[in-house]
């Protein structure tokens, strides 16, 4: 589901604040830069509010955020809805005992880790990141949470790149985004 389709008046302000940087990190990629959104306190607050309005009162006890831009959006959402914040990190950053989930990239592999004991079985969780592209990272995140017995209610991202079909990769898990970016 995309909030943009529902035409909440705050969405236009959010979309126009996202800067597109061509050919980063490599040729052909139109990088969606959310740092410019963060420079507009009202638009940043609106972004968080849209997620909070959706998830408050839904008995969600875990917001998992993907390093590093998920650390910008996830914690304010967690604080506002009364949930814990669980950082999902690149290897060797978390100091305690971890579980790891490998995932495939366009070239090669990467790995996401979560602290053992951060999430209990039966907890209702959200996964938050700034953007969904192919969905590989979000899948790895969901796998980590499901492996410890949590229930992933939804994945929440500011931006979706629908042409990369990440939504289909989520194994039927719902995805909620605020804006879509199409190349055409």
């Amino acid at each position: 589901m995309s909030a943009y389709k529902d035409q909440d008046p705050r969405l236009h302000g959010i979309k126009t604040k996202i800067r597109v940087v061509p050919n980063f990190p490599k040729s052909g990629i139109m990088f969606q830069d959310i740092t410019t959104l963060l420079l507009d306190p009202k638009a940043f607050k609106d972004t968080i509010d849209l997620f909070v309005e959706r998830y408050k009162g839904k008995n969600i006890s875990v917001v998992a955020g993907i390093e590093a831009r998920g650390f910008i959006f996830g914690p304010p959402i967690a604080l506002a809805i009364g949930a814990k914040f669980v950082p999902l990190r690149k290897p060797k950053k978390l100091p305690g005992k971890v579980i790891s989930q490998e995932y495939i990239l366009e070239y090669g592999r990467d790995c996401l880790e979560m602290h053992v004991g951060a999430v209990e079985p039966g907890e209702r969780a959200l996964v938050v990141d700034d953007l969904i592209a192919t969905g590989g990272t979000l899948c790895a995140a969901m796998d980590l949470l499901e492996r410890v017995g949590a229930e992933v209610m939804e994945c929440a991202c500011v931006i979706e790149l629908p042409e990369l079909k990440g939504r289909e990769r989520l194994n039927g898990k719902p995805l909620y985004v605020l804006v879509e970016y199409m190349e055409i």
């Binding site: 963060l38 590093a68 914690p75 967690a78 950082p87 950053k93």
Partner: protein, 194 residues
């Protein structure tokens, strides 16, 4: 300066104790001899996490701060919520190669080797009042680099705020490039029950 030295408000002492107890100490990470202060357990305690953010928000709300800069990555966890709480912009300070636009870079020295912090050109305007947030300050090297980046952009760094830092000025850092440091807690030296 430490929150408690500054005359903690009624109830603040209790909040600080709860925050301190929520932080896990992991011995010998990332290497032998280091008692790592793990704030991820604080983030699992909603009330304590909220209290930590609120203490910073209460302090900075009326200080005319227009920018909160957060050091990647744990500075993001606290910094973005503080920015939202005081109505300021949030500016991420990142490791090299992460920011997509034009950046300015500041190198800094580590125990072995060096590292680099970057900020987007144009994120901060000259004479904006800025605070810099990170989870912990040790030697002050990273915060010094962060301060220099902001000053090169013409901003005024009002203060650096950290959840954890060492109070003894002989051992720890209590000013960064002459700028004040505001710290909630000292590091715990003993492994606790987690």
């Amino acid at each position: 300066m430490f929150v408690l030295e500054n005359g903690a408000k009624k109830g603040e002492e209790q909040r600080l104790q709860a925050i301190s107890q929520a932080i896990r100490v992991v011995p010998h990470f990332p290497k032998q001899g280091i008692m790592f202060q793990d704030i991820t357990t604080l983030l699992l305690d909603h009330k304590a996490f909220k209290d930590a953010v609120d203490i910073f928000v209460d302090r900075y709300r009326d200080m005319d701060i227009s920018v909160v800069a957060g050091v990647e990555a744990r500075g993001f966890i606290f910094g973005s919520s503080i920015a939202l709480g005081i109505g300021a912009k949030f500016v991420p300070l990142c490791k090299p190669g992460k920011l997509p636009g034009e950046v300015i870079s500041e190198k800094y020295v580590l125990e072995y080797g060096s590292d680099c912090l970057e900020m987007h050109v144009g994120a901060v305007q000259a004479s904006e009042r800025v605070i810099i947030i990170d989870d912990l300050v040790a030697t002050g090297g990273t915060l010094s680099a962060a301060t220099r980046l902001l000053e090169r952009a013409g901003a005024e760094v009002v203060e650096c705020g950290c959840v954890i830092g060492v109070s003894d000025p002989k051992v720890g850092c209590n000013k960064v490039n002459g700028k004040p440091l505001y710290i909630l807690l000292e590091p715990r030296e003993v492994e606790n029950d987690f």
